[in-house]
């Protein structure tokens, strides 16, 4: 028996769905494994539901995992479950926080803030104001709601309040900007494209489209191209789909807000490794970042910084040496 192997902490990184975004995250986990000498598994709930997550967590505990980094699907209602998990293993959250639970800390950014950053991009692209259409995978997911709310609040010049929620069919009209509609596509790409096309059909005056999920900005781009309205409709995206980045390079997409899933993965491993090694609860406290929040801020990627960002991304995901 190799004593070094025996001592390696066993960790897990649990996401809230299957997505390209999280494959980048799992590269971060991979990097963290090497760097901090841990064993780790990545678990992605295929249907992206809370009950799948519950069963995954239970099986991880059964497996004897010592530390778990989780992106909770429904933080509000999962508190009791998370507390139970926290009593059997070290639990931290990433990407989406569950502040009411006994998780030790949160790694990530605030989706509401990221949404506001996205809103700023819209403002830059459309200084004179206009009609905006939002595309989102679905609206019952916490991060989606917060992102959308951030965009709306920023555009309507509202105060910073992450708990606000405008219903899907609510009228959102400010002095300059008007949110005409929010379309959901339930992660079906063809449907996303159809929704973007139908929005362009319905309103001849749409001035900007915002895609809040990773695969959506390229679909909007396709739709705008097919409608021959390239350049007439500003596009703002979220996340780092390669077609989005290419669109920015080509000047068809104004910009995108990127999170840093790679760092979520890597830093989760780092923090969990330390926390698991420390048995004493008091000393553990000391290891935590201030306020139990490790901020990995979102960034705005525009034409000026897209190249550098893209190269770095390719490197991290092993697509380019």
């Amino acid at each position: 028996q190799d004593p070094v192997v025996a001592k390696k902490p066993r960790l897990a990184f649990v996401t809230n769905c299957v997505a390209e975004f999280w494959t980048v995250g799992s590269f971060g986990v991979e990097a963290g494994k090497q760097e901090f000498g841990v064993e780790a598994v990545v678990r992605m709930p295929a249907n992206g539901t809370a009950d799948e997550q519950k069963r995954i967590l239970e099986d991880l505990l059964a497996k004897g995992v010592q530390g778990i980094a989780l992106s909770p699907k429904d933080p509000e209602n999962m508190t009791a479950l998370l507390d139970k998990v926290a009593s059997r293993a070290v639990l931290i959250t990433h990407d989406s926080d569950a502040p009411k639970s006994k998780r030790l800390c949160y790694i990530g950014m605030d989706n509401y803030d990221a949404g506001r950053m996205c809103g700023q991009l819209v403002k830059q692209a459309l200084p004179g104001g206009g009609a905006v259409v939002i595309l989102v995978g679905n609206l019952d997911q916490d991060n989606a709601r917060r992102r959308r709310q951030g965009v709306i609040d920023e555009l309507l010049g509202r105060t910073h309040d992450a708990t606000r929620f405008d219903k899907q069919d609510a009228v959102c009209k400010g002095d300059l900007y008007e949110i005409r509609a929010t379309f959901t596509d339930q992660f079906d790409r063809q449907k996303g494209k159809a929704a973007a096309q139908d929005a362009l059909t319905r309103w001849s005056d749409v001035a900007c489209m915002v895609g809040l999920f990773e695969y959506e900005p390229p679909l909007m781009l396709e739709a705008v191209k097919s409608a021959n309205r390239l350049g007439k409709v500003a596009l703002v995206g979220f996340d780092e789909n390669e077609a989005t980045l290419q669109g920015i390079v080509d000047g068809h997409i104004h910009g995108t807000v990127v999170q840093n899933p790679y760092e979520y993965g890597r830093r989760s491993m780092e923090l969990l490794a330390k926390l698991v090694a420390e048995v004493d609860a008091k000393k553990r406290e000391a290891l935590l970042p201030k306020g139990g929040f490790l901020d990995i801020p979102a960034r705005q990627i525009k034409r000026d910084n897209v190249r550098a960002f893209w190269d770095d991304l390719l490197q991290k995901t092993g697509k380019k040496k």
């Binding site: 539901t49 995954i56 209602n77 019952d140 899907q168 959901t184």
Partner: protein
């Protein structure tokens, strides 16, 4: 009976493999056989088993219910609403939810029997319709119990202690109860006899004076009622339901469990014990994968592959059995 033996064998083989490979020499423990894991497994079998029995009620009649997942969604969204937003008492909330589920079943039955629509069509539309209505109703907000109804959650997460370490999960007990009742209903009562007869040859049963229309409607009601019960248990278990995906695909798991357990989709054939075993297999496999595998990417592939292999082996063995020379 041969089917049952085959299923038990398959379950045992997978269990033994999982137990062997999940053994952890460092801690000298066996995660798969830990009380915690076994309890979890039994609880899941209980939850999904209820849905498979539900599916079986309609399959017996030669029909199919694709709306089981959507009914789970309806129950899962409504129960928290009754309990938390309307502040109803637990019994009232549960009964109302079940009544609504039963009404959905009755409506399916009437469409199938009264208008002669294909069950596949009716329940496929139902799938879209109910989930769509729930999305509208909840405004795409997550429905959760928060910390209300803590006692009620016992139904889904509670255990009846057998030893200090190990307790039987309540959903498993519920499933056992439902299975015994159903089995009794199917094999010992006039109602069950008639149900199986009409499932195989509706016309012949009608000519024999069996009230086929009424019975078919009853089967759809039983199906949706159990699906609704399942929905209640699921939401009590995970405490949160999103209309757009709660119970998604569960109809397929439920039907797969039932069919795996020996229900023939042409109707009039099957045993409850098989269904429970089929549902158990559907839960054991993901557990195995998650305990042994480094990634769960191949989960679906393994589940699909094993079921298919099992079904194929079953067919091959049955042939061999038939061809075998008799004395």
């Amino acid at each position: 009976m041969k089917k049952i033996v085959g299923l038990v064998a398959l379950l045992l083989v997978i269990a033994v493999i999982t137990a062997t490979f999940s053994y952890d020499p460092i801690t000298d423990s066996n995660p798969f056989l830990s009380a915690y894991n076994l309890e979890n497994l039994l609880q899941r079998v209980g939850l999904f088993g209820v849905l498979s029995v539900a599916a079986a009620f309609v399959i017996v009649t030669g029909g199919i219910d694709l709306s089981i997942g959507a009914v789970v969604c309806v129950a899962g969204c409504l129960l928290p609403w009754f309990l938390r937003d309307l502040g109803w008492s637990a019994p009232l909330a549960i009964l109302t939810t079940l009544a609504i589920a039963a009404a959905i079943g009755a409506w399916h039955g009437l469409l199938v029997v009264g208008l002669g629509l294909q069950p596949f069509v009716v329940t496929l539309c139902g799938l879209l319709l109910y989930r769509g209505i729930m999305r509208g109703f909840t405004g795409d907000q997550t429905m959760g119990l928060g910390d209300t109804a803590e006692e009620l959650r016992w139904l889904a997460t509670g255990k009846v202690a057998l030893t200090e370490q190990f307790g039987l999960p309540v959903p498993m007990l519920l499933l056992v109860g439902i299975a015994v009742l159903t089995s009794f209903l199917w094999t010992r009562t006039v109602w069950g006899r008639h149900l199986f007869a009409l499932g195989r040859n509706e016309e012949a049963a009608r000519f024999a004076g069996v009230p086929t229309a009424r019975l078919t409607v009853a089967a759809y009601i039983a199906c949706s009622l159990l699906a609704g019960l399942g929905g209640c248990l699921f939401v009590l278990d995970v405490n949160s339901a999103q209309a757009s995906n709660f119970g998604n695909f569960y109809e397929l798991y439920a039907i797969a469990g039932a069919v795996l357990g020996g229900m023939a989709l042409r109707g009039g054939e099957g045993m409850v014990l098989g269904i429970v075993l089929g549902a158990a297999l559907m839960q054991l496999l993901p557990n195995t994968i998650r305990l042994l595998g480094d990634s769960d990417k191949l989960e679906f592939a393994v589940v699909g592959g094993v079921i298919l292999a099992g079904a194929a082996a079953d067919a091959v063995l049955a042939r061999w059995w038939q061809r075998r020379p008799r004395r």
